[in-house]
Amino acid sequence: MNTINISDVSLVTLSDPDAWHLLEVHMTLPDAIHGKAYKEWLFARTAGSPDAPFDVVQGGATLLMRSAVREHLRREHLPATHVSANQPPTQITTAPCCEEWLPGPLDTRDTVEHRELQSLAAQHADRLFAALPRRLKMTLAARACQLPLSTPDLLELAGCQCSTLHGAYREFAERVFDELRECYRGDDRDTVSDLAVEVFNDLTQRCGTWAENDNALQDILQSAGRQDGGGATV
């Protein structure tokens, strides 16, 4: 309820027939060769299951219903952060995270300045990489190769759980940004953010290169590449 702009749950609750109709509409592929193949999927789940077939089918239908509900909420209801245009503006609310994650394109007249920024980023990356612990290098290398941090071989090599790697990654990223903001306190915030992104991307590439010389990690990355057929980089 916190994600959509509704205060009363009863306003969005569907009756049982309506809910099942929603599921049918959501899951059926119209004008397809086998538009109701999802029903085969539902009943195929019972094969080899120790649970009663009815429970298995019901569990599968619940999974599918979550997807149908998500689509229904996306289409029919506004997000909780939606503000009416008629409401007097008390504060201009833009999504600062969106602006930081998706800045505008670089001004083409600033090519020289951008190269200077990249060179400065490389210097910072040099310093940070030298002090980077092995586990963090492994995490960044895995990210560079789009290897899931939950890969069992990776976790065994790192000697920790998946949540630890995720936490370490996030904590390190935030530390890089905070350090640079502190170091360049008087500079333009957006430029500092650009520098931090360049530093982090440079570090990630260095960790990818480092992983190529680490036999144990390279085996894991190569093994994942053989199985997967190689996911493309974004």
């Binding site: 994600t3 959509i4 959501h26 899951m27 592929l29 397809a32 060769i33 086998h34 193949a37 999802y38 999927w41 195929a44 789940r45 094969a47 299951s49 569990g59 599968g60 619940t62 999974l63 599918l64 979550r66 997807s67 998500r70 996306r74 997000p79 930081e100 994650w101 998706l102 800045p103 505008g104 394109p105 670089l106 001004d107 007249r109 020289v112 951008h114 400065l120 789009q146 290897l147 899931p148 941090l149 939950s150 890969t151 990654y169 990223a173 360049y184 500079d187 957006d190 430029t191 500092v192 650009d194 991307n201 199985q227 997967d228 057929g229 190689g230 996911g231 493309a232 980089t233 974004v234």
Partner: protein
């Protein structure tokens, strides 16, 4: 030290709106995710049911068997057959907006088939795809627009599509889309997990002597000829 000032143009409003919509749907997906993931089937796929009668070919849209993906209904597009006989496939996305520049809208309105995730393509063996149901096929226009760029993309390069059909670029390390990529990478690992295929013994039935078969006494020349005893000293011509 003062940083070199780098100016940026205003963000593309379409991209910003696109990302906002994606973030909202991602938030909904996470809010509606089950607390515990579904239990994977322990039945080998080969015993899980009859194969789909339609032979696998490029352009198929196949619904993965729950023994491959138990977490929900997932469709894949069959891109092409590889040299070893396996097929290269690309999954359709869970969300209605492409997350990054390497995901593309298909033009279809069905929620499960709106977005194709080129970055997450992987190889699947024919048997696994044969046991996954043929739901539909891409038409000629879709094959040309969606599949050809992926098939012809180099190993290190990404397929490209018009900007209005793909997602915004991903650059920030704390962008939530990394969590989405992580989740979908886990799906890819599940879908092409080799343990599902079991162990294959390449010894033919005729090569194994059955227990009830008669055997000539040990030391009989006929018996030694069958095994090609390496200790024999008889020179060959």
């Amino acid at each position: 030290m003062t940083l070199p000032r780098v100016n940026r143009d205003q963000p593309d409003p379409d991209q910003t709106a696109h990302l906002s919509r994606w973030l909202r749907e991602w938030e909904l997906l996470q809010a509606l995710a089950p607390d515990t993931p579904p239990r994977a089937s322990h039945t080998p796929l080969a015993l899980a049911g009859a194969a789909d009668p339609n032979p696998v070919q490029a352009g198929d849209i196949r619904l993965l068997h729950p023994a491959i993906e138990p977490n929900g209904v997932r469709y894949v597009a069959v891109l092409c057959q590889q040299r070893g006989g396996d097929f290269l496939v690309a999954p359709f996305g869970l969300l209605s907006e492409p997350a990054t520049q390497d995901e593309v809208t298909t033009g279809r309105t069905t929620p499960a088939l709106r977005v194709l995730c080129a970055w997450n393509r992987f190889e699947m063996c024919r048997d696994d795809l044969q046991r996954s149901w043929l739901a539909d096929r891409l038409n000629d226009e879709e094959c040309h627009t969606l599949l050809t760029p992926m098939v012809t993309a180099t190993a290190t390069g990404a397929a490209t599509w018009p900007a209005d059909r793909t997602g915004p670029p991903l650059r920030h390390p704390l962008d939530p889309r990394w969590g989405y990529l992580e989740m979908e990478s886990e799906f890819r690992q599940r879908a092409c997990r080799p343990t599902r295929h079991g162990v294959v013994y390449d010894i033919g039935a005729g090569e194994l002597r059955k227990a009830a078969e008669t055997r000539t006494p040990y030391g009989t020349p006929a018996d030694e000829d069958e095994d090609g005893d390496e200790d024999r000293s008889t020179p060959h011509a």
